[in-house]
Amino acid sequence: MSSSKRVGGLKGVLHEVLSYKSAVIGVAILLFLIVLSVYTMVTIPLPEAIQAWRSSEAWSRNPRNAQPEWVEIFYGKKLPRTIIVPLKDADATKVLLEDGRLAASWTVYFNYEYDDFPSEIVMFFNSSYSEKPAVEIYWIRPDGEEVFLKKHVLRRPDDRLYLSNDLSLELRLEGLFENKVGGKPGFMVTVEKGLFAEYSLDPRVLKGRYGIRFEATLEKNDVLNAEVVIYGSVYGLAGTDHLRRPLLIGLLWGTPIAMSFGLTSAILTTVLSLIIGTISGWYGGKIDLVIQRIVEINAVLPFLPILIMLTTFYRIDLLIILLSVVVLSIFSLGIKGTRILVMQIKSYPYIEAAQAYGASNMRLILFYVIPKILPPVVPGMISSVPGFVFLEAGLSYLGLGDPFLPTWGKIINDAQTNGAFYKGMYYWVLEPAFMLILTSIAFALIGMALEKIVNPKLKEL
């Protein structure tokens, strides 16, 4: 079955590969991953991504450890997204006082229709002043009730007020609750619950239109700007991590990184192995002996521990990891197979014929030998990509990967370090794991189909 000769080279192979249903799935997944990679690289250029990944300011408006939005399907209720209420949109009233100061009041409203409570409430101030103003904040519930939250003196122009961590506020709200309900409620009254719950023994969200009023006395040229961020418990397609970073970015960026690491390692390893095996088999003699001994020694070396050693002692950088992996992998036992094949080919009459009409060793190797040994090697190369992808992920998981790059392994590492499973944040681990598995399946399916095509050809040597 020499169909690749009938329908010229690459096109013919593609045609044949697609005749296997499993391969079609593999190719489809691969195309999806490629599209994802390209999209990611275009929309979020890597330097920006790395920078953003490392900074915390970029994500300040994201909820911490938020679940992906689609989990609400499983909960059966609408989970809260983050609501940002800027003071700019407020109804403001300003009254000029006798001493030239302004008594200002802003009220902003927002609707809260979710079935669950927000995860956090933070107020971001952005103001300029001559003297630190004191701001009084009132909370207006949909039923009209007003709750005095606190009086806060701005410490700096970009001050932040973390209501959720405010113990005194929490105690006050708890007291308020007990009064209204007439006893201890059946749940712990956190600030969020205190502000958003119905007054009942069970935690139920009070839906409706909420308001927040800021009152402050300002000097003439003071500007008071604020943003109230009511953090949801879900965010985006993939959720967020402990640093509020959208996991989607990690997942997206992990794709081209995983693919390029996997493919580069696989291709480099395969090609270099092929060259070494060919030299060993073709030239024989001392060089063959030396290479074979290196291969045998390499087979006994513990791959992972050495890799760990390298990454521990030297700077951790994806490129270094790549090079180390390749160097440790090229002297694999596969060379023995290549060598035998090359020795076989060398004994064929057409090699002798070519020597008779003056072909040099290099020419023989490049044009006569390699075209014969390359096809059988390709399926193995494709099938080895997942292995390298997992290797990188594994190293990242162990904390030995590149600490600055957003990779799937790094995400899992973060998840594990932050106790994802204990806290029920399964998505944090499952999402990168899913991407890893998807990538593996794609390459494995394609590799298997290629294997089926190439194997009968081995007889045509």
């Binding site: 000769k5 064929y348 057409y350 002798e352 014929a353 008779a356 009409y357 003056g358 072909a359 075209p371």
Partner: protein, 330 residues
């Protein structure tokens, strides 16, 4: 170039192969595949090298092409001593002397089309620079070997052709660089009987027209008749008899040659009622052979001297040389 018309001269040529017993042993044994061959070939003439397997004929052919380096003796091509020239300095020789192998199917890389396979020698020697010129040469070569229409054959892969057709391509490849010498190593033994004559005739015609020297290696004595001027009978690395083909066939002198002639079947229904008188046994192993007549163990005419001493070549008749003690007085 000197005025000598001798295309090729071999003087006491030897090719031995080392076999080492064991990894650490220092003792080296030699398989003496070619052990003292002398002959010369003129321009435009064909010589048959006849022998059974193990006679050394193939090794001799390859040594002549310098695919091996001789261990002794000399090879002179057009007067130039190429015995120990380094391989990298032999590129010019690769153009002047070419090879046609026994197995047409093994002679071609399966991933080259016929066109590509014929183009290779041209590409290697870079004598023809332009693509069009190369294509012209390739098509011309295909026409010479009667593989027409050439477009039909040029773009096929080897597995699509028959043995006979492939052997023609092999011949085309051998002549495409316009060599002076062709070594044809059993070019038809793997082909069907009816195709053999066709290919041999083609080779002969090309040889005559292009004035090529041809060394025709074969085990079939019957085919030498119309295809070579002179013949060498080889046995166990030695040339046992050397003369014009006609002489060898009509008047064989060496007992081995006589046995070969008796043993070669010809289509005669009376054969079935007769037993052939042929010496029993097998050709000897060539590892460190004893220094006597190699054929003596099987020879019906062997006497004392044959078992003790290796005979030189005696000129039993003008131009007719025999390596046999029976012809000592000459």
């Amino acid at each position: 170039m000197n005025s000598d018309t001798r295309l090729l001269e071999l003087e006491d040529l030897r090719k031995w192969f080392e076999i080492r017993r064991g990894f650490l042993s220092s003792r080296v044994n030699y398989v003496k595949a070619v052990d003292g061959v002398t002959f010369s070939l003129e321009e435009g003439k064909a010589v048959s090298l006849v022998g059974e397997s193990g006679s050394g004929k193939t090794t001799l052919g390859k040594t002549i092409l310098r695919l091996y380096e001789p261990n002794g003796g000399r090879i002179l091509f057009q007067g130039k001593d190429i015995t120990h020239t380094k391989v990298k300095d032999l590129k010019w020789y690769r153009r002047m002397a070419s090879l046609v192998q026994q197995d047409p199917f093994g002679a071609f890389a399966s991933h080259f089309t016929v066109f590509r396979a014929l183009e290779e020698p041209l590409l290697i020697h870079n004598t023809v620079k332009s693509r069009e010129e190369r294509a012209e040469r390739v098509f011309k070569a295909l026409e010479e070997v009667r593989l027409t229409p050439v477009e039909d054959f040029a773009y096929k892969y080897p597995h699509m052709l028959s043995g006979g057709q492939l052997q023609r391509v092999a011949i085309a490849r051998a002549i495409i660089l316009e060599p002076r010498l062709i070594v044809a190593d059993e070019p038809v033994s793997m082909l069907d009987a009816s195709v053999r004559i066709e290919i041999l005739t083609l080779l002969r015609r090309l040889q005559e027209r292009l004035r090529l020297g041809v060394i025709y290696i074969t085990h079939d004595l019957a085919t030498t008749r119309f295809f070579s001027e002179s013949a060498l009978i080889m046995y166990a690395g030695h040339v046992m008899e050397k003369a014009s083909t006609q002489e060898v066939l009509r008047n064989p002198l060496h007992p081995y040659t006589k046995a070969l002639l008796i043993a070669t079947p010809d289509p005669n229904p009376q054969n079935r009622s007769r037993f052939k008188e042929v010496p029993p046994g097998e050709p000897p192993a060539l590892v460190d052979p004893p220094k006597n007549c190699r054929f003596s163990p099987r020879c019906p005419r062997a006497f004392d001297k044959c078992f003790k001493e290796e005979p030189p070549e005696f000129e039993a008749a003008p131009g007719h040389w025999v390596k046999c003690w029976l012809y000592e007085r000459s």
